[in-house]
């Protein structure tokens, strides 16, 4: 069956051809019969055209049926294309449906760009349309399949704005939660997934939501909140695919909360129930950690070694287990076992094994055994073999220990220094700059190196050209040495450290230097970036605590009081830093003072000396600051009483703030 438009077009073309023929015949004599016939044909075609014009145009219906035919026979590319062409030409009442059908057909076509284009066109054109929910979910699912999490969030957040009661609300919330998790927006993930659990119990996504909700809390280090979700899976969805993982995660939460016996009990149950689990290795290593935490070193070693035997154990866990086991063997003074253990580790040499570090420990064991010559020989072996690779951090560790170990090794020490010097000569000859830089750095501490040589070595290292060759240890040395005399070089070394050794502890001091220099230059934003990274990467370390306090002050400096307050609140939420809470409270009080909110500030200062009286270094400052707040509020009598309380307590009599308090008392009394 031909489309109406095509029939008309063909008829018009034929008409033109026959009219041309008529003109040709008219032009010449002797073609009367042909002319007559041509004229008749023209007249017939004209009648046909009139007849065609009278028939209502059925093309849209015809195309729709063809497209549907394609769709029914799974010729989805054809169907999608045809529905889309129809959408462009169809009358208004058909447009929405044809665009939707084009999208629906495109859903199964890969690559997905066409489907996404149609989906976005639908959502832009028909927000809240009859198929809006299906389209928005479909588009979200495609982005999820492509792991394009920001797009998942963008599309489905908008979908919920357009239609809060989305027909697949649980699925949408799940995708939002999962995408938030993948984007490390854990609070958002907790919100979306928590809604599924609370508002849509019994939905198909409930168990998925429980699992990922647990994971979102766990990655947020909120183990107390995480665990009930895993336990709920174990209780109510014992046969779900998540059950195995949930048992392991529940144990991990116990471990993180220092409930070691409970964690151990669960992990042993896990190994018994799921002997083939892909988490078996991780479970054994965690059991090793637990035994270590409980002081059962022999058992810990046994478990670590068992974990290391599990094929495909993640290399980070494998290295962790190997070094923890070796260190424990050394601690148990089973030096030969430790040496054998590390030699086995070296022999296995998995990709990304840390061989120089293993040699370091072997050397240390020999030291403990009273064989310093072997220690130095093994150290030298590692330096010679791996010293040219700037990424081998174990070599830096060995060289840091070198001075101390040679010092206690008598004649072996002197011989070792001599061999190191030979090595340097060869390194320079063969232009192995990474090795040469490492060696020069350590040879500066050799008893046989003259001051002139030392100065030459110092100059050799402290050059911008060194940076691309320098190992982490050398870069760190440059950062420290050049900080005062060559700040630009120190800065570049720090940046190189951060760039090339991002995941290591060396990067920490580099970031601190960059941040401190940024503060000196009043480049608050750069400092904030660095401190934020420190607090995230080195989460529970002292450096992270310092970073948070610095962040509070920097945000305050920028007038971003809410962010400043958040930094202090984050600090006060970490139990690991309980000992430093008074400091954070004090800074928080100062922040509220800066905002002119003296009432709130006074409360923070009061909390310090009421709750943390033992922290005398903060108590004196807290009394003074509270008095200052009350004075600002015009409550001079209260201020004086606060100071009197402080001065009158004998346990604080030796604090330097007492004298200041007395002076302040006098000043305030004069105002009464």
């Amino acid at each position: 069956m031909y489309p109406h438009d095509l029939l008309r077009l063909n008829a018009q073309t034929q008409l033109e051809r026959w009219r041309l023929q008529v003109r040709r015949f008219q032009r010449y004599l002797g073609f009367a019969r042909e002319l007559l016939r041509a004229q008749e044909t023209v007249s017939e075609i004209e009648s046909e055209l009139q007849a065609i014009e009278k028939i209502p145009n059925y093309d849209v219906e015809l195309q729709y049926r063809i497209a549907r035919g394609y769709m029914e026979t799974r010729r989805l590319r054809e169907a999608s294309e045809l529905f889309y062409a129809l959408y462009k030409d169809a009358p208004p009442e058909k447009k929405e449906e044809t665009l939707y059908l084009s999208f629906l057909c495109a859903l199964r076509i890969r690559p997905a760009d066409r489907c996404l284009a149609r989906g976005h066109e639908y959502m832009d054109r028909y927000p809240g349309g009859p198929h809006y929910d299906a389209v928005s979910l479909g588009v979200g699912q495609i982005y999820a399949a492509e792991q394009n999490w920001p797009k998942v969030l963008q599309v489905l957040t908008k979908a919920l704005e357009v239609h809060p009661k989305h027909e697949d609300i649980a699925e949408v919330l799940f995708l939002l939660g999962y995408a938030s998790f993948m984007e490390e927006k854990f609070a958002d993930a907790q919100g979306y997934l928590g809604r599924i659990v609370k508002e849509y119990p019994g939905s198909e996504r409930e168990v998925d939501a429980l699992y990922w909700l647990g994971m979102a809390y766990m990655f947020d280090r909120k183990y107390e909140e995480a665990q009930p979700n895993f336990d709920r899976i174990l209780r109510d969805f014992g046969t779900a695919m998540y059950a195995e993982d949930a048992l392991f995660r529940s144990a991990t939460c116990d471990y993180a909360l220092s409930r070691f016996e409970e964690a151990e009990r669960k992990l042993l149950r896990f190994l018994e129930r799921y002997p083939e689990s892909r988490l078996r290795g991780e479970a054994l290593v965690t059991l090793g950690d637990i035994s270590g935490a409980l002081g059962e070193l022999e058992e810990a070693v046994r478990r670590y070694k068992q974990g290391m035997e599990v094929p495909d154990l993640n290399i980070e866990l494998y290295n962790h287990a190997a070094f923890r086991a070796g260190e424990m063997l050394r601690e148990l003074q089973r030096y030969d076992d430790a040496i054998r253990h590390f030699e086995d580790y070296i022999a296995r040499a998995r990709p990304e094994s840390n061989i120089p570090l293993a040699i370091y420990w072997i050397g240390e064991c020999y030291w403990d055994k009273g064989e310093p010559e072997v220690t130095l020989a093994r150290f030298l072996e590692a330096v010679e073999k791996y010293g040219g690779d700037r990424t081998e951090l174990g070599v830096d560790l060995i060289l840091e220990k070198w001075v101390d170990r040679t010092r206690g090794a008598g004649s072996h020490g002197r011989a070792a220094w001599s061999r190191l010097r030979d090595l340097l000569r060869r390194a320079l000859e063969s232009r192995q700059y990474t090795l040469a830089l490492r060696l020069e750095r350590v040879l500066m501490y050799s008893p046989e190196t003259s001051d002139t040589e030392k100065e030459a070595m110092r100059k050799f290292i402290l050059r911008p050209e060194s940076l691309k060759w320098a190992s982490a240890g050398v870069l760190e040395w440059i950062v420290q040495e050049a900080a005062a005399s060559q700040p630009q070089l120190a800065r570049e070394a720090a940046e190189t450290l951060v760039r090339d050794f991002t995941e290591t502890d060396y990067a920490l001091s580099a970031r601190q230097l960059i941040a401190e220099q940024a503060i000196a230059e009043k480049n608050w934003d750069l400092a904030i970036v660095q401190y934020n990274i420190i607090r995230e990467v080195f989460a529970t370390s002292d450096a992270a605590a310092d970073a948070l306090l610095k962040l509070g002050k920097l945000y305050q400096e920028k007038g971003e009081y809410d962010l400043a307050d958040q930094a202090y609140r984050d600090f006060l939420a970490a139990k690991e830093w309980k000992a430093r809470w008074p400091e954070a409270l004090y800074e928080r009080g100062r922040l509220w003072m800066a905002r002119g909110r003296y009432e709130e500030a006074a409360a923070y200062f009061e909390r310090i000396y009421v709750l943390y009286g033992g922290h005398k270094e903060w108590v004196g400052r807290a009394y003074l600051a509270r008095a200052e707040c009350l004075a600002k509020l015009g409550r001079f009598r209260g201020a004086i009483e606060t100071l009197e309380e402080f001065v009158g307590r004998p346990e604080y009599a030796d604090l330097p703030e007492v004298a200041q308090a007395r002076e302040m008392q006098e000043r305030l009394k004069a105002k009464l």
Binding site: E72, R77, A79
Partner: protein, 357 residues
């Protein structure tokens, strides 16, 4: 729009141009030349105005050089094709003999016979409503058929196939000049690029296609344009893009037999290449059903036999979304098996000779 000077001025006032020399050359010298000059006699018609019979001798870009039949040789005037409404080349075209040969699948012979006759007119096919354009297109098609016939002979026929495709390309390219007045003119130009693809001259084909305007749905050239695109993609080993282009070709065109089955066959091949073998089966089935007794039908049937014998479509597909949407579903494997059984060749039947593709 006809220029005022082109009717009379072209004859009388237009610049006299020396044949084979620049316009500034001495006119007296040119008159002496061109005793046996090449050219083709044509009657030019301007609606309700003039008619002239002239000898066309050559062209330079848009400009056609001619002389009047009663003018001395070597003295030429010029015009542009669009200056006239009709043109009738005074040449004898052996249509009848060529048709007879074509009906016997003697494609090469038919093509050559026509080609010799129309060759003088080929450079001037942009003259509107001329009587050689359609024989020219027929000539090119006969060459294409001859090339396909030669290619089917295997290795031995490859050289002949290249020769015929080259000839087809040259005739189609000239026929492409008619794009200004004939609805098939642009198709001819696109067909020329398809010949280039067959010849492996892909960059030239790409460049040729890029110069042509992209047709709109409903244009005569739509199907062949997207077929050419598809063939190019396929030749460049991009079956996914080739598939999309082939689908565009047959989806929106008027099921022209010169493109429709080729586009379907290419789409089916692409479906195989992108490992959507269920869809390849469906398209081969469509071709085999629509074009029984042709090379397309036979090839499609052979591919279907291969797919079914190797049980390539036995793996169940995902639930059909159309089935979900419209509540329908059918077993294509069963339909294909039934079709193959019904069309099984009889043992004593002869399949000699080329079939019309």
């Amino acid at each position: 729009m006809i220029r005022a000077t082109s009717i009379l001025g072209g004859w009388i006032c237009g610049a006299l141009v020396a044949y084979g020399q620049g316009a500034s050359g001495p006119q007296t010298a040119t008159v002496a030349r061109a005793a046996a000059e090449p050219g083709v006699l044509v009657r030019l018609v301007k609606e309700n105005e003039a008619q002239r019979e002239v000898l066309l001798v050559r062209r330079q870009g848009d400009v056609i050089f001619f002389r009047l039949t009663n003018s001395p040789p070597g003295v030429y005037s010029q015009f542009k094709a669009a200056d006239w409404d009709e043109a009738e080349f005074k040449i004898q075209i052996p249509e009848q003999a060529a048709y007879l040969e074509a009906s016997r699948r003697q494609w090469a012979s038919a093509a050559r016979r026509l080609h010799v006759a129309i060759a003088p007119a080929l450079p001037f096919l942009d003259l509107p409503q001329n009587n050689v354009f359609e024989p020219a297109v027929r000539t090119a098609w006969y060459y294409v058929r001859a090339a396909q016939q030669a290619a089917r002979r295997g290795e031995g026929g490859q050289a002949d196939a290249r020769t015929y495709y080259t000839a087809a390309y040259e005739v189609f390219r000239e026929a492409g000049r008619a794009a200004s007045w004939h609805p098939y003119g642009q198709c001819a130009a696109i067909r020329a690029t398809l010949c280039l693809v067959e010849l492996g001259r892909l960059d030239e084909a790409e460049a040729g296609l890029a110069k042509l305007p992209e047709p709109e749905i409903g244009d005569t050239a739509w199907g062949v344009y997207w077929l050419a695109r598809a063939q190019l993609y396929y030749a460049r080993e991009q079956p996914r893009y080739a598939l999309e282009a082939a689908i565009l070709s047959y989806l929106h065109e008027n099921k022209d037999v010169e493109t429709f089955p080729d586009a379907l066959m290419l789409a089916a091949q692409c479906y195989e290449d992108v490992n959507e073998v269920h869809r390849a089966r469906d398209v081969y089935y469509e071709v085999a059903r629509l074009f029984p007794g042709t090379d397309w039908g036979d090839e499609a049937r052979a591919r279907l036999v291969n797919i079914m014998e190797r049980r390539m479509t036995e793996r169940p597909e995902d639930p059909n979304i159309a089935g979900i949407f419209f509540g329908t579903e059918e077993d294509m494997n069963e339909k294909v098996r039934k079709f193959l059984k019904e069309t099984e060749p009889k043992l004593n039947s002869s399949t000699t000779g080329d079939k019309q593709p």
